[in-house]
């Protein structure tokens, strides 16, 4: 009956026995072989669904391979009391991880950083003038991390915003890319991300052909950036179409 949770002892996750860690094949000079057997420029299959959370104004669930994300949108609702008057609306974003999202418990990446990245990616797409004095809250929960978490969160958040009926210039689709040796791989999984020499993420509004957020890490030559950007933009427009059809399905389903 006594509370066993008190003074929890130190624990660790058992590591696999096989000591011969497979070194990434890029070090041997050959092409990168993706752990899930995809082609280098092939995205993971995406599963999207809107209205996943009943108590939110709008919500969406996205599953890209192992990456599973839920985003809820609340509002537009009253801003915090301390906030000053503003004739445009405010956007408030928060991303958090479940404690079982990563293979080792409680090793999720910095959620504050992700929250501010999500904010930057979305603010250019929302017509903030349409809800003055109020706040729209976008809360994301990463149920399971599977690589390219931030792009999945951003795409899912845009779907949730649309589901909540918030005015948008366009849907926001996001895709990332990893540079592994001389290979460019799109939509990397966690393992690929951990080996990457460089990463590039693009968030764009496909029908307006505008980039709302872009980050690059690692060393890149200009032609390589050109190539990577083009690949990402193409993937974004494809993803945009999938998101659009997902929204259409929900609408037609409710109309029936």
């Amino acid at each position: 009956m006594a509370g066993k949770i008190s003074n929890t002892p130190a624990t660790y996750t058992p590591s696999p026995t096989s000591q011969d860690k497979k070194r990434p094949s890029i070090f041997t000079g050959s092409d990168w072989v993706r752990p899930d057997g995809r082609g280098l420029h092939q995205c993971r299959p995406a599963f999207l669904r809107t209205s996943a959370v009943n108590s939110a104004s709008g919500s969406a669930y996205a599953e890209f391979g192992n990456a599973k994300v839920i985003v809820s949108v609340f509002g537009p609702r009253e801003s915090k009391k301390a906030m000053m008057y503003s004739d445009i609306g405010r956007l408030n974003c928060n991303v958090s991880y479940t404690s079982f999202a990563t293979p080792i418990r409680g090793q999720a990446s910095d959620s504050k950083d992700l929250s501010s990245m999500l904010h930057k990616a979305l603010e250019g797409a929302i017509i903030l003038e349409s809800f003055p004095k109020t706040t729209v809250d976008v809360f994301a929960l990463v149920l399971e991390s599977g690589g390219s978490d931030l792009p999945v969160v951003i795409s899912c958040a845009s779907l949730a915003l649309a589901d909540a009926g918030i005015m948008l210039y366009d849907m926001v689709a996001s895709v990332s890319m990893s540079c592994l040796g001389k290979n460019l791989v799109i939509d990397p999984v966690s393992e690929e991300e951990s080996y990457q020499d460089g990463g590039l993420m693009i968030t764009c509004m496909p029908s307006r052909n505008e980039v709302t957020q872009m980050t690059v890490t690692g060393e890149w030559s200009t032609p390589k950036i050109h190539e990577a950007m083009q690949l990402c933009l193409d993937a974004c427009s494809k993803l945009g179409k999938i998101m659009r059809s997902c929204l259409k399905e929900t609408v037609s389903a409710t109309q029936e």
Binding site: G3, P9, Y12, S55, N94, A101, T102, L141
Partner: protein, 294 residues
Amino acid sequence: MATTNGSNDLSSEMEVDAFRRLFPLRFHERHLLESIRPDGRPLGRARDTTISLGAVASANGSALAKIGCTTMLAAVKLEVMTPKAESPDEGCIAIDFHMPPICSPLVRPGRPAEAAPVITKQLTDTILSSGMIDLKELSLVSGKAAWMAYLDIYCLDADGALFDAALLSAVAAFSHLQIPVVSLNDDGRIVLISEENSGAMWEKEPVNKEKRKLKLESVPFSLTCLLHKNYILADPSDEEESIMETFLTVVLDSSFQLVSLNKPGGPGLAHTSAIQDCVGINKTESERTSEDIG
């Protein structure tokens, strides 16, 4: 519906949604008179329940439980710990219930929901005292190593009866839990044995020879009822909970022993007859639910 006074006249002209928002109590009481609830359920009936196992690939056991719209995702992760000196043959279970901001408009980031720690405590009490899990089963090497099972439950959508759904998802996650094959290495640490080289020679005899499931004895089932005047409403929705504030939660195990009977105050009283009724509803609903899930 006969109207009895002036304000009721007004209400008959009002749109249903407006009436529901302006006079929530009256709206619900009118339904109760007809022995039906706004979502079409009879009073003593719980919402439909679904469970899907194995929702989280990175956990050792997981389950997604839905009661109506209330959704809970539970996952168990196993880690190794050194058991306590007073119980060298026992593992440990740490339970945490989370209400992330996505689940309800009332929860804001940075400030954990008030209900979350209370439900964590109640779940811990209920699961540990029900004797569902024999902690000895989580032992690996006596006095050296044992499993620490971290059970994390996330509320994805809060629409009433949170404790019932959380307990259901917790039980389901434990039923899905698979204990992996491990052995003790030279440094005294526990290591996993992956499936490919299980055929190869083991340097050491594995501590846990085969993948196995936990034996679950006497599974607890919880049902929350709302008490309002003489009515008993089983499995309330969030709206019902916020309007009629007296709940009574009964937890029975598979042999209908009482694991917990929780009525934390509230404006109304619970009479003996009402308690007996709630126990009765729990029995019928637990049978119905287990049929549902199959």
